[in-house]
Amino acid sequence: MSDRFQKISNLLTDLDSRTSYIRSKLGVLVPSQIRSMRLKSNMPRQSDLAQAAKMHQSRISMFETPGASNLTLDTLSRLAAAFRVGLKVEFVPFSDMLRWENGYSQDTFSVTKIDDDIEFLQPTVSTVRKRPKRKRTARRILSSDEIFQTPMATGGVGASTYMIRVQQERVQLRLQFKPSESAPSQDRLADVITLPNRRGSVVNDLSNLRAAAGAGGHYGN
């Protein structure tokens, strides 16, 4: 069994292996970034950075030693502030982490300081990202969506009425389904049912609704 295969197997099955793997990468790459920024800054000595970050020099030394420090978000924020740069902490797939590690180089690592960050200081229309229009996506009825019978009277077709409690946070949801061919009498049912609020609205026929859900019925927002 190859080393890689064994390693992947451990990562897939064991929490401690994954933790160790992630910690080892961060334990090298984060100190390396701190060292890189310090060496390229106008405070190349650890004592200069320590003064700027209001820390002791020995802590800076520890932060730069691979694996030596469990840097807290607070400490990282303070270091970023001292370097006059931002900080991004992001959960990513393992592949992204590996790509980051392979692509990273302490020699070429460079971050624009706030003083030179034109995009931040003078945002133009082209650099400010417009809020993307929400794409309408159809979603299947989830098992967590609760369908239950209610005595609520409606003016709909049929004798039975049902409520849908949709476990979504959207205020308005539309339920779409195609009546099955085996139930031509249900053709009069609305194809689109608007749920006015999170509590749902009245649907006329549960069996049809279930059939629609099972046969590709969907609702979208």
């Binding site: 793997y21 080892s24 694996g67 030596a68 590996l98 590690e101 392979n102 020699d107």
Partner: protein, 145 residues
């Protein structure tokens, strides 16, 4: 007529290569590595993977030349920490461009190295390498994990 020695000047490699110390057919670095915990192995792998891309060895994280008897042999060490243990990997630079030999792995607490004679052993190994009584084997650093 002057006898010129023609030397091909190969371009400097982009990354460092690390070579494991071997004696009597035994890879001493791999032997040490095999006995490490998974976390220490991961830490060591990540350290080498990053370090080899840093051109100037003075800027390697946790790097320093050793003092005392090791100074004569130009032995250096790389520090890294795993499971709150301070590990040390000692090495020497080779003649080739961006080549380094790892000669000993150990850990360190306060002033004490484990094994205790780590520095002495490192000096002996550095000397053995220099005198051709020991060899090296290129350490593979995978990029796909």
């Amino acid at each position: 007529m002057t006898n010129h020695i023609k030397v091909i000047n190969f371009p400097e490699p982009e990354i460092w290569s690390f070579r494991d110390y071997t004696e009597g057919g035994v890879n001493r670095i791999q032997e040490w590595y095999s006995g490490l915990s998974q976390e220490a192995k991961d830490g060591f792998d990540a350290l080498l993977k990053n370090t080899r891309k840093i051109a100037n060895h003075i800027q390697w994280g946790g790097f320093k030349f050793l003092k005392g008897e090791a100074k004569d042999e130009r032995v250096w060490q790389l520090d890294f920490v795993a499971e709150k243990k301070q590990y040390r990997v000692m090495g020497v630079f080779g003649i080739g461009k961006k080549q380094a030999a790892l000669i000993l792995g150990c850990y360190h607490k306060g002033p004490i190295y484990t094994p205790k004679d780590a520095i002495n052993t490192a000096c002996k190994r550095a000397k053995a390498l220099r005198e051709g009584r020991a060899g090296t084997y290129e350490r593979q650093i995978p990029e796909d994990i």
